[in-house]
């Protein structure tokens, strides 16, 4: 196959005229995609349907595949109407995407192995009855020895809503079905017609704990579509610093929560405090602990003077020493290791087949990290080391987090040093002038931007109309890829291990539900 003629190749954070996107006959499209994913090792970063502009009722399927070896994104499209032969039947990585397409557009994915909605939103066509999240026929085991356990959507902790339905034989889980959609707000729909004043804010709250990665992803998408939104290298450096703070805060919180779930108190409470320190460092940068409003199209909202950089540097060193202590305690305690090891195993083959990304993917031996495979901004000339494990169990996911904390810390050290060496002009260039809504973007373009958010790959795709406004905006949160991985992990596992398996993925409900 000649990839260069079948697919439109784009680097990360670039745009091309929609006219350049090859529109293939569906059979060809289907065969090429399946071959690219199953044989050539490309990953599905995004797959969605957008209404075809000339023919009402027709849809254009657009696939964005990540080619990690070539450091490129490969895009292809095809026209369908009413129904098409599902790709999932031959390629599991499309499974969740096709369920979303069917739910959003009303297209029928023939032969789809599991044709159910993923968010339980109102049906797009016809006046169907109201759909309620979680109200569906679950797979059940017709056996008197089996029992069913329903957990959520309201949980015992202060967390987001999601429903989990376990089919068990005694303590063993045979099958877990996860039912989401309670947090659906329609963010992608609200973005259509933008960009406007609200766009950046909406994107930040797609998943609040991923604010920086989301805002940065959006900013780079706009940079590809409008020269006015280009950010200076200094701005990109600071965005990287903020992103690594975000990663450190969340990884620390996750390791503390894992310790809490196996009732190991010291690390739980230390990590709870240390997570707060990283959040406070972010607040010192921009006045918000989650980095809201820091990253704007075109640059940053605030600058940091050299004194602040020196303070942050000293603060980071102190906190990392405390963190190392707390984590040494966790990983040196045999009873903790016993709980983590061989628990919730996601086999590398399964992880690759369903397209797991980020921490969970690297724990199962997948070497995907967008900062390395599709480098951008400050990661281009200052690469991090890849932190991958192979066992795919809770311990591997914890170890990946621990090693990434060290890698981020080292990277932050260098990046903060580099930040002190910026000249005054370079510093000022980082400031964004885009407090007001961006003006019209390049018309009739498609742009793709990938980020390595702390959970994993975050993908934004935008299509602009002839007036340079968003015609379609597609967000694929890392959780979108990974929820199904969690369900796989539980098969044959003890039901009492669900909390630590869940915590070791720590996926976002709102990021998935959008």
């Amino acid at each position: 196959m000649n990839m260069d003629t079948t697919f439109l190749a784009l680097p990360n954070g670039a745009a091309a005229p929609i006219a350049d996107l090859p529109v293939l006959p569906f059979d060809d499209f289907r065969a090429q995609l399946i071959q690219a994913v199953m044989q050539d090792g490309l990953r599905v970063s995004s797959f969605f349907a957008t209404p075809a502009d000339n023919q009402p009722g027709d849809f254009e399927l657009i696939a964005v595949l990540a080619d990690d070896r070539a450091h490129l994104l490969r895009l292809a499209a095809s026209r369908v109407s009413k129904s098409y032969l599902a790709l999932s039947a031959d390629c599991p990585a499309f499974h969740w995407f096709e369920r979303e397409i069917a739910e959003v557009t009303g297209l029928v994915c023939e032969n789809h192995p599991w044709p159910k909605p993923i968010r339980f939103t109102r049906p797009p066509v016809g006046k169907g009855a109201d759909v309620l999240p979680g109200v569906t026929d679950y797979l059940r085991i017709a056996d008197e020895a089996a029992h069913e356990v329903a957990v959520g959507p309201v949980h015992a902790g202060v967390i987001e809503p999601g429903h989990f339905r376990f089919q068990c034989l005694g303590e063993e889980v045979i099958f877990l079905e996860i039912s989401l959609g309670y947090q659906h707000r329609g963010i992608e729909k609200m973005l259509v017609g933008g960009p406007d004043v609200r766009s950046a804010q909406l994107i930040e709250c797609a998943a609040g704990d991923t604010s920086i990665a989301s805002a940065w992803c959006y900013a780079r998408l706009l940079a590809a579509l409008s020269p006015a939104c280009q950010a200076s290298p200094a701005a990109e450096l600071w965005r990287g610093i903020a992103l690594e703070f975000e990663r450190s805060a969340n990884h620390t919180g996750d390791l503390g929560a894992l310790a809490g779930d196996v009732a190991f108190l010291p690390t739980q409470s230390f990590c709870g405090r240390i997570r707060g320190e990283y959040l406070n460092m972010t607040a010192a940068l921009c006045g918000n602990r989650f980095g809201r409003g820091y990253v704007l199209p075109g640059g940053l909202r605030y600058l940091a003077d050299n004194k602040k950089v020196a303070d942050l540097q000293a603060w980071r060193k102190r906190v990392h020493a405390d963190l190392t202590n707390a984590l040494d305690l966790l990983f040196d305690t045999p009873s903790v290791l016993d709980r983590f090891e061989n628990t919730g195993v996601l086999a590398p083959a399964d992880a690759a087949a369903v397209g797991i990304v980020g921490v969970a993917g690297r724990a199962s031996g997948l070497n995907n990290d967008i900062r390395l495979s599709h480098p951008y901004g400050p990661y281009t000339d200052r690469p991090l080391s890849l932190c991958a494990e192979g066992a795919g169990d809770v311990l591997a996911r914890a170890m990946v987090r621990r090693r990434e904390l060290d890698a981020s810390n080292q990277w932050l050290n260098e990046a903060l040093n580099a930040a002190t060496e910026l000249s005054a002009d370079e510093q000022t260039s980082a400031l964004s002038s885009q407090h007001s809504p961006a003006r019209a973007l390049a018309p009739s373009m498609i742009a793709v931007s990938l980020q390595e958010a702390w959970r994993g790959e975050l993908c934004h795709v935008a299509l602009t109309d002839s007036h340079g406004r968003f015609r379609h905006y597609k967000i694929v949160d890392p959780s979108f890829h990974n929820w199904y991985g969690l369900a796989l992990t539980l098969r044959g596992e003890q039901i009492s291990h669900f909390p630590i398996c869940n915590k070791s993925f720590n996926l976002s409900y709102c990021g998935h539900d959008l």
Binding site: H147, E148, V149, A150, V151, A156, G157, G170, E171, A259, D261, V262, A263, F264, L265, P266, Q268, S269, F270, T333, S335, V336, D338, R339, T343, Q494, I495, S496, H497, F498, P499
Partner: protein, 309 residues
């Protein structure tokens, strides 16, 4: 020195245990808070909680039968009745009779059975899982408990609880120290499993899927919940008291010193539980039977040591 017979002192100790029992949870939580670098709840928190709960009204699902409502009070009474046979410090129980150790064990068993039945009564899948786990682990714990009773009965040549606990201590002449240590260690493990402590159960968790005891009582509120908390503290107190009596040196200066030492040791065991809970993670359920069967083997080894060395 054998046990004194002084009913006045015994009743005083009995009342003291009824009053002081909830303090044990306060001590455990303080120790855990210390290890976690926190201030922790107040020492008397459980008393406040019980007072607060006792002023509320209980709420019961309409789908339940009376078992759910009756279980807490019955379970509390069974536990208090069992405590009547525990020697108070160095004082024999006035109600002691030959074979009361079996009565003691099965009064606690009755209390457990009522809790399990009540859990099944709710029809909740969480409570059902908790009940199943409780029943599973208690079968194994009971075997260890009775092996310990056999060991003590051989030493004391009696099956009356007040006699069983009197002649033994770490320094009893003629009985090997390792045997006593094995039995005391196994009994400490029984305390942890019977009282739903780490590494078997996590009383602090909010994760229903991992709970044992907490899952069974999820449906309770108000005075019934207060009773359940109180029953749990009395049970923990009784077990700590028995362990204390196992190890308490018999030749102490006088009844008053003996009593103070007895109370102090019970508190020390609470501290010990707190330390264990602070420095280790909870076991996976599949590993719990290993530990209990291991304890059984330890006690049987102690019996062999006793019989042949």
């Amino acid at each position: 020195m054998m046990y004194n017979v002084n009913h006045g002192f015994w009743w005083a100790m009995f009342l003291a245990s009824l009053l002081l029992a909830p303090l044990l949870f306060g001590i455990i939580n303080k120790v855990k808070a210390f290890f976690a670098g926190r201030r922790g709840p107040r020492l008397l928190q459980l008393y406040y909680d019980m007072f607060k709960l006792s002023r509320k009204a209980g709420i019961f699902s309409r789908t339940t039968s009376g078992v759910l409502q009756l279980a807490p009070i019955m379970s509390l009474l069974a536990t208090i009745m069992a405590m009547l046979f525990v020697p108070g410090g160095l004082f024999r129980s006035p109600l002691a009779f030959g074979g009361d150790v079996i009565f003691f064990c099965y009064l606690l068993g009755l209390s457990r059975m009522l809790t399990i039945l009540a859990a099944m009564d709710t029809g909740s899948s969480f409570a059902g899982m908790g009940a199943s786990r409780e029943a599973h682990f208690s079968v194994l714990a009971e075997a260890v408990l009775f092996a310990i009773v056999i060991f003590l009965a051989i030493v004391a040549r009696s099956i009356c609880l007040s006699d069983l606990l009197s002649p033994l201590s770490l320094v009893t002449p003629g009985i090997s120290v390792p045997a006593v240590l094995l039995v005391a260690g196994a009994f400490f493990i029984v305390i942890l499993v019977e009282n739903c402590r780490l590494p078997f159960d996590d009383p602090e968790t909010h994760l229903e899927l991992t709970m044992i005891h907490e899952a069974m009582i999820l449906d309770y509120a108000g005075p019934e919940l207060a009773m359940i908390h109180y029953t749990a503290s009395l049970k923990l107190w009784s077990f700590c008291a028995v362990l204390t009596l196992l190890l308490l040196p018999q030749r102490v200066a006088g009844p008053l010193t003996g009593m103070l030492l007895y109370l102090a040791l019970i508190m020390v065991f609470a501290v010990g539980i707190g330390v264990v809970e602070s420095i280790m993670a909870r076991y996976r359920f599949l590993k719990v039977p290993h530990l209990l069967v291991g304890s059984l083997a330890a006690v049987l080894t102690a019996v062999l040591l006793l019989l042949f060395f």
